[in-house]
Amino acid sequence: MRQQTNIETQFFELIENNKDRINRICSVYAKNSEDQKDLVQDVFLNIWKALPSFEQRSSIHTWVYRITLNVCMRSKYEKLQRSKVNLDSIKIEYPSEEPKEAKYEQLYQCIAQLAESDRSLIVLFLEDLPYKEIAQILGISENYVAVKIKRIKAQLLNCLNAQKDA
């Protein structure tokens, strides 16, 4: 009973601290706002399901990023999809008049143009994670992360400059 309460407390703390991060990443993979909500709900559900078996072999931060990316990437594959979860208690509220500066939209558009695996790398880089942690989340070597980030960054900057010039 006490252990269950601990898990509940840990869960609430975890999603409160990470909900913006999770939402940001899901928005990169979502096709539209409805899809974004479904992804966020699915991430929360998977965190809740997996939390009791969290073994602290990695930091909880790394663990949340892994779940978020895995859920978001999995959603692309029709044959891996389960029936959609429907949790009314989780909502995404959009401000009625969201100021959208072109540079932010351009960034999202350029990220969306990247290959799926490159997208996961750049998102973690933009979240200011050290290469070591990115390597742990993705399951690749730290050196390889550095090489790939350099290449993807160049690609992203090219895209942003091209959009600026257009």
Binding site: S53, L69, N70, R74, K91, I137, G139
Partner: protein, 191 residues
């Protein structure tokens, strides 16, 4: 643009909506959702087993009531075929472990690809574990019984036709896995 500028741009971008959750309801809802998913898997497993058990009961009954030895052999073979299908489905379910969503992304992609390949393989091999164990003895029973030749021909054509149809449906479903497997291969390779 420097790394810092790029990260600032990302971090200062207006939030794509604010996530709100109802602390009172969320746990109940999630537990219900998990139960719903478990229940749907359990029901599917039950349906599969029930269909095979029905065949076992029907042909098992005929096995004990028929006096003709050759028909008895056929009925027994159908029962064994249906039992084999139950075993096969059970073994598949056991190996169908859900992919651990908290592993690293590359491991997850590889596990997802392997999972899809396994499912595809099951559909591709449906002839050996589903169609032949059932259709062959059913066909045998129809041929060896004392019915008129015309009945035997129509019966055989029906069983063979149905088997082809089931085979075709499964091969079509198996092909449906190809695009996802190819996309996963590509993602693994590029990561």
């Amino acid at each position: 643009m420097l790394d810092k500028d790029l990260k600032n741009l990302w971090n200062n971008a207006p939030q794509k909506g604010n996530v709100q959750f109802d602390k009172q309801k969320i746990l109940n809802e999630m537990n219900t959702e998990i139960q719903k998913i478990d229940r749907s898997i359990r029901n599917r497993n039950l349906r599969e087993t029930f269909a095979a058990l029905l065949v076992i009961l029907m042909f098992g009954w005929s096995f004990f009531t028929t006096d003709v030895l050759i028909s008895k052999i056929g009925m027994g073979a159908v029962v064994l075929g249906a039992a084999f299908i139950i075993y096969k489905l059970y073994a598949v379910r056991k190996s169908r472990q859900p992919v651990d969503v908290s592993t690293d992304v590359k491991t997850q992609l590889v596990a997802s690809r392997d999972y899809l390949k396994k499912e595809q393989n099951l559909l591709q091999n449906v002839l050996y574990w589903y169609i032949l164990p059932l259709a062959a003895p059913i066909l045998f029973i129809g041929i060896v019984n004392g019915s008129p030749l015309l009945f035997k021909v129509i019966y055989s054509l029906f069983v063979i036709g149905l088997s082809f149809f089931v085979y075709w449906l499964n091969q079509k479903a198996a092909k449906g896995f190809d695009p996802n497997i190819a996309q996963l291969e590509e993602a693994i390779e590029k990561l």
